[in-house]
């Protein structure tokens, strides 16, 4: 069977130009329009209820990650140097700076304002917990860390931050 290849000879040039221009405009609109109905609403800077840190949530590939970008008391009172992950049970990681530490990992958007399948790391005790994130409104997250089943856990409320202009 002979294969027929589609060439520009089959599409009038005027029509092809229209398609391309339309595609370009549509793509531009798609790229810059606010994506406030999907999982990307999680992206931003958030503050846990204790106010001790600020966490920037980003999207990498199809998953969401949060790293520490601000610490209320960034200097270790003992070493007089920037705080590190000294409570990590892995000795090799105890010298990793807390600033920039990825404490939220591997979240995927499940719909219905919920991100799940991720983990949260508590630098105060070096423990990693299963975690589910629920957005109660555009500026508030319920972050529930738990052990095994959700009922064995604790929920913290995070608030969205904006950089002052």
């Amino acid at each position: 069977m002979q294969t027929k290849y589609l060439t520009n000879k089959h599409i009038p040039m005027k029509k092809l130009s229209f398609i391309l221009v339309f595609s370009f405009i549509a793509t531009l609109f798609w790229s810059f329009a606010p994506t406030n109905t999907g999982g990307d609403r999680l992206i931003g800077v958030w503050e846990p209820s204790n106010g001790r840190a600020r966490v920037k949530i980003e999207k990498i590939g199809a998953k969401y990650y949060g790293k520490i970008v601000w610490i209320k008391e960034p200097i270790d009172p003992v070493t007089k140097k920037p705080k590190t992950d000294k409570n990590n049970p892995d000795p090799d990681l105890q010298k990793v700076p807390l600033m920039g530490y990825r404490m939220l990992k591997d979240f995927t958007y499940k719909g219905n304002d919920e991100w799940a399948d991720g983990t949260i790391y508590d630098a105060l005790n070096g423990s990693t917990y299963s975690c589910v994130i629920k957005m109660t409104n555009e500026n508030t997250l319920n972050i529930r860390g738990y052990i095994g089943v959700s009922v064995l856990g604790r929920t913290d409320v995070w608030k969205r931050l904006a950089i002052k202009k």
């Binding site: 798609w30 204790n50 600033m99 949260i120 508590d122 070096g126 508030t140 608030k159 931050l161």
Partner: protein
């Protein structure tokens, strides 16, 4: 070829815009370490996006021992002597009393201790937890067949049990001040599953504390409690003082007079405590189904048990969230006396300042060493 070559650059631009956000957001695959340099000073000066949002203080401070969600333990007191008094009471029901005082040797007293504490609401401006617990104390006498005193006989046959529900509310008022409420209802006595007491014998305890959390390393508070920790009902002032030093090596965990401990943090998963706990409850003498000559139901008798436990505690993580707690110490008897309620009314004595009515049995216990071990699932 799909498009004419002169459209190729244009096609690339379209494709770039289509996938642009993904391309520009790519970072290395390793998600543990942030490689991309970033100017973190950007995040020094921020504000809430939500109008009216406020900061509230946390119920915890840094360095505190982890809260226990589930605890299963065993408590063991070594041998001691129990001197049971005569019963100075009026029998109004059927049966007859053996009023003889008697000394008995307790080889050990021991029992399971199970507790649950589950967070129900955890909002920034309100934390609410519910708990349940079951403790039992069994008395292993040297010669049970020789027991004649009715109190000794019922302790030997049934021991003492407490089943309770508790609730804790933490209400931050702002980023420094808070209110803490703890309440519990305890079902305590010598009942068995086959012979349960009416629920109106529940004992209610509560404490309300107004506190301040001036820093991440300290919180304190003062308040008032209604408590049975010394055995009988009392209304007492309470002081909360939790602290951690800047090196996170030493700290205190104090809710005086219920408990007070100095904490030595070896690391975040190994902690040593020295201090005391005041432990007690009021136990309804209910079960008489197979113990003759002690018809207590008509006399409304309760054992007021209060003891001070001087102790050392070592708590450590066995694996991740599973912690073991081992404690040993000296149990000092504060009170193990029998009270008679008149028409169900509590006798309030204000730590002995009010001496009437007197106890119907004044019993003496010598003080043994004790040990306690528990395995715990700790809270995130």
């Amino acid at each position: 070829m799909l498009f004419h070559s002169k459209f190729l650059p244009f096609t690339f631009v379209v494709a770039a815009f289509s996938t642009g956000s993904t391309i520009w957001a790519q970072v290395p695959e390793n998600t543990d370490t942030i490689i991309v340099e970033e100017d973190y000073s950007l995040y020094d000066n921020v504000e809430y996006t939500e109008e009216g949002a406020r900061r509230f203080c946390s119920p915890k401070i840094e360095g505190l021992s982890p809260a226990k969600l589930i605890s299963i333990g065993y408590d063991y007191q070594m041998g001691y002597n129990m001197s049971a008094d005569t019963l100075n009471s009026i029998q109004t029901g059927p049966g007859s009393f053996n009023l003889t005082a008697q000394d008995a040797q307790v080889l050990s007293s021991h029992g399971m201790r199970i507790g649950f504490n589950i967070p129900v609401i955890a909002k920034t401006n309100l934390v609410w937890q519910l708990g349940a617990n079951y403790w039992e104390q069994r008395y292993n006498f040297a010669d049970p067949a020789s027991l004649e005193n009715p109190m000794l006989k019922t302790l030997s046959a049934y021991g003492l049990k407490t089943a309770g529900l508790s609730t804790t509310l933490f209400k931050p008022l702002n980023d420094k001040y808070f209110l803490l409420f703890q309440g519990s209802a305890d079902y305590s006595g010598n009942y068995t599953l086959k012979d349960m007491m009416p629920l109106n014998y529940l004992k209610y305890s509560a404490a309300l504390i107004y506190g301040k959390r001036p820093s991440e390393l300290k919180q304190w508070g003062v308040g008032l409690a209604r408590t049975y920790r010394v055995g009988e009902i009392n209304y007492i002032p309470v002081v909360l003082y939790n602290s951690t030093d800047t090196r996170n090596k030493w700290g205190t965990e104090i809710l005086f007079p219920a408990r007070a401990h100095v904490r030595r943090t070896i690391n975040s998963r190994n902690m040593l405590f020295a201090g005391f706990e005041l432990e007690g409850q009021s136990y309804r003498m209910w079960n008489t189904s197979s113990v003759d000559a002690f018809q207590m139901r008509d006399d409304e008798l309760e054992i007021r048990r209060g003891e001070i436990r001087l102790r050392m505690v070592y708590e450590f993580s066995l694996k991740e969230f599973i912690w073991l707690s081992i404690q040993g110490g000296y149990r000092i008897n504060y009170r193990f006396d029998m009270d008679r309620l008149i028409n169900g009314e509590e006798n309030y004595r204000a730590f002995g300042l009010i001496d009437q009515p007197g106890y119907v049995m004044i019993n003496n216990l010598t003080n043994p060493l004790y040990f306690n071990i528990s395995i715990n699932l700790v809270s995130p």
